[in-house]
Structures are given as structure tokens and as C-alpha cells.
Amino acid sequence: MEIFSKLMLGFSVALIPINLFYCFVGVLIGTLIGVLPGIGPTAGIAILIPVSLSLSPTTALIMLAGIYYGSMYGGSTTAILINTPGEAASIPTALDGYKMARQGRAGPALGMAAISSFIAGTFSIVGLMLLAPPLASVALAFGPPEYFSLMFLGLTIVISLAGKSLIKGLMAALFGIMISTIGMDPISGVERFSYRNPDLLSGIDFISVVVGLFAITEILINAEESMVSVYETKLKGLWPTLQDWIDSKGALIRSSILGFFIGILPGASASVAAFICYDVEKKCSKHPEKFGEGAIEGVAAAEGANNSAVGGGLVPLLTLGIPPSAPLAVLLGALMIHGLRPGPLLFEQNPNFVWGLIASMYIGNLMLLVLNLPLVGFWASLIKIPYPVLAPIVLTLCIIGSYGVRNNMFDVWIALIFGVIGFFMRKLDFPAAPVILALILAPMIENALRQSLTISRGNIFIFFHRPISAALLILAVISLILSIYARVREAGKTHTLIESSSA
């Protein structure tokens, strides 16, 4: 009953006209970001943080969270219609969705994508509502060593999952930490790598780095590739048939539950959840051969999972202040810019904000269903905007976004430099997500490490004497070992393949 009264408090906040309006703006922009290629949720949230500065923290975060889960809905449209997912979490959707479109069943594929997104999205908010408060109570017992170990675990999982090479994932994370060390040391006040430059003294703004690595890089990469033309099809009969429902009911339930729990894991993003749930569904199916050939349950599994993972990811973000993925890392940055400190105390000190945000997600999901089902034809027509028209407009928004936080041209130059760095990173197979997570987590990790060592008078074994901290560090080591093992096995297979093909 206590949860119910808190939820009612949340609805009283979320239903204020200005919050409703910005919730709508958030999900609308999110859908747009999901539909249009060249800009993903990570860069989209970062670009709009400056815009949110004039709003109250609750209204701002309602809008920014709306962009994130809205982009999950929108991503399926391009995946199904042109086999080009708007963001990575919709890649598995394209496997069956595009085949369905080619078979003249684009309507039911888009309909099922929107419905499964709504069901799983709503389920994940219920999960978030039930799981976050008890976890926040447990996290109250966490001290600096536990926080250090938890963030360390988060980083190792991100590194393990990102990209093809463990070394490159690790180097990307270290690069993020290196960038974070530029500026004044928050504990001792010593200047680090700033060389008396006043702009560098206040550090590198993470928004510029995100805009550079995710938005500008994406446009440079797309400029090299020729964009695919839209598969012309008439959209009719969006509502799936009875057989479609029967085929998809298992996928809807499984992806909602599994996607949520995968989303909670540090490092496991919405795209990881979508891939795992798609794979699980294929293994559970009586007709696995239909997957990849236009199976509607494949669309339901992938879309359900990526939406459910959003609610799951908010659990560690709000209760522990640990973002499991790059878009949530940017959301964490936004929380801090607005003066909110995510962690166990957030639930006690800012109940209006936390429950207002949760309640707004119920409303936002309903808005998205309305936006995506009857208006799917409109979103599909947006894909027809030629990329050479879209790219310069997105680039202009990148410049405004990176300038807007501190009203400083220095941040724009940083975004441009990171755009070029990001282009080379993509070409050389260095993942960008660990850079962002490390950049945002590194100052917190450093503080937790230094506070822990001050408590223990320099004794490093403090991390192993405390059971929760020790368990988290063991998990971090296991995740790295498993990742090394998986890559060695994969390398072995590739080596055999090269040898057999050259023989």
C-alpha cells in the first residue's frame, strides 16, 4: 500500500500540465531520434541537456528519460522498413521485421513492435517501482569501498561486452579515465593536464565528448556509406492477426521479464538485452528455422527486450548512481547538472522527483503507443528525408548542444575534435561506449578509491575485508576471465577458418 500511495504522489507530479507537456516533447523527440539515422539516444539526450537547464529538475529529467525510452520505440520503424535500425537495440528487430515488410506484412510487424514495446515497457516500470526502493535501502549500507567495487564491476562488464577486442575495449575505458583527469583535482585542488588554460581547468565537459563521439562521428561514417532507399510498401492492417498474437505471446512474456533483469546488470545495455532475448526466443521456438525469415515473435522479442531493459537500467541508476549503459551515463550526468545526486538517499530526499519520473514513464508509454500506432505512416514518411539534407541540420544541433551547457566555444571545439577521434576509433574498431561510461564514472571511482584508502590508512585490503566489496570484485574478475575465454575461443575458430580457406 505504501508503494501505491507513493505512486499516487508520483502521478500528482507527472500530471502537472508542464510535466505532461515535456513528457510528450521527450517521447516525441525520442521517437524522432529512433526513426532518423545519424543520431542515437546517447547523443540526442546530450544535445538536449542545455535545453533542459531552464526547466525544473523533475520536468527536465521527465523529458530526457522520455527521449531515451521513446527512441527505443522509434528505432523499430527504420529497422522494419529499410533494414537500417535507428539505433543498435533495434538490430535484431530488422532480422525478421524487414523480411516481414518484404512479404507485404510491414503493418503487423510495426504494430507488434509498438505493442510489445508498450507491454514490456510498462512491465519494466512496474519492476522498477517494486525493486528500486528495497535496493535503495540495502544500498544505504554501502560505503566508499563498496561503491568503488561496484563501479569497477560496471566498467569491467562494459569493457567485456563492448566491441570485438578486449584490449581495445579496455583502452577505450582507460582513454575515458584519462580525459576525466584533465582539470582541477576535486580532492587536493592540484591542476592536472590543464597547463594553466582556464578552459581546461574546469575539465572536459562530457556533453561535448558524447556529441563528438556519437553524433558527429556517426555523420562522418554515414557520409562514407551510401544510404539505403526506403522499401516502398503500403502500410495497411497494423493490428496483428490472431495467429500473430498466438505466435508472439511467449515472446512478449519472456522478453519483458528477461529484458528487465538484463537491463539491471551493469554494462548490459538495451541492445545486449535485445540480442539475448532474440536468441532465447529462437531457442525456445518449435520452429527456429522461421527466425530470420519473417517470424513475428522475433520482432516481439527484440522490441520487448530493448524497452524492458530501459526500466531495468534505471534501477541501478536511481538507487546506486551507477549507469549500466552509455545513454544512462548521459542521463546520470544530466541528473548531476541539475543538482540531484543519484543513490540510495535520492528516494528519501527527493520522493517527488523519483516517483514523478516513474509515474511519467507510465504516461509516456501510453503516449508512445498512440504516437506509434496511428502515426506510423507519418514516421515512415520521415525516413524519406534525404540524408544529405538531414546531416547538416543534425550537425547544427550538435554545435548548439555542445555550446549550450557552458555557453563556451571551447566546448564546441572539443566536440569537433572528439568527432574526428571517434571517426578513427570506429574505423579502428575501438568501442565508444566505454569511453563515455569511464569518463562519467571515473571521478566517482577515483573519489571512492581515495576515500577508501584514507579510511584504511593506505591498506588496499579494505576492498577484500568487506564482504560485499570482495564479492563485487570477484564478479569483476570473473567477467573479465569469461570475456577473455570467449574471445580466445572465437579467435581459435577464426584462425581455423583462415587456415582452411587458404588451404
Binding site: 592540484v190 592536472r192 593536464f193 562514407e224 539534407v389 548548439i400 581515495r450 584514507t454
Partner: protein
Amino acid sequence: MISSLIILSISIVYVIEAKKMPMSDGLSPGAGFIPFWIGIFMVLLSASLFIKSIKIKNTLGKTIFLKKGQGVRDIAYITFSLFAYSALINLLGYPISTFIFLIFLFRAAGRYTYKFSFGVSIIVTFALYGIFEYWLEMALPVGRVGIF
């Protein structure tokens, strides 16, 4: 291979600079502690990547970094125009420099007609200016000329 050498060089410089900072604040690590050890790890990883890249090069031969043709030209146009745009903003302010930036990219990378490029550029520039400057009340760069 060249990239790993560049990363290795930057990491070495980073370690040398980190070494100049205090390593300890009495009982806790100082400002240079984390940068120093992060730099050392980066040196080791970039060195191992360098060795690995030599082995791969011997096995697979030359890899293609950039596809030749229009794509490369478009990348060059976008990169050049972005840097020029950022330099112009300081001088001319947001609206004029954005208009020039857009018209250049529509013409050079998009290969649209002057009429189309001019029309779309002017609409987009003033739409964005209206949204950000007046509706969202963000202070866009004015520039030294100070027209807007």
C-alpha cells in the same frame, strides 16, 4: 599499427606528466596516483596492440581504411565545414555562420541546386534560431560583428 604507435607515444607523455604530480597526500593517494597508473596500463596495452598489429599485418596483408570516391570527399567537406563554421561563429555569430555552413554543405556534399540550398538553409537557420533563442531562451553565440 601507426595508430597503436600514436597511442603509445601519447600514453608515454601522459605518464611523464602524471609523474610530476604528487603521488601521495600522506595516507591517501595524491592527484597523480590514478593518472600515473592509468597511463602505465595504457602504455602496456598500446605496446601489446602494436605487437599484435604487426602479427596480423603479416597474416592478412593491407587493410582498407577509407573507401575511395565521393564518400571520402564528403567526409572532407563535412570536417572542413565544421571547423570553418566554428571559427566563423566567433566572428559572425550564429545565424549568418549557420546559413553559410548549411548552404555550403547542401551544395558541396548534397549536390543540390542553389535555389534549393538557399531556401532550405534560410528556413532551417531561422527555425532553429527561433526555437533555441526565443522559445527555449538559450543564448546563442553573437560573434564579434554582433548583427544578431
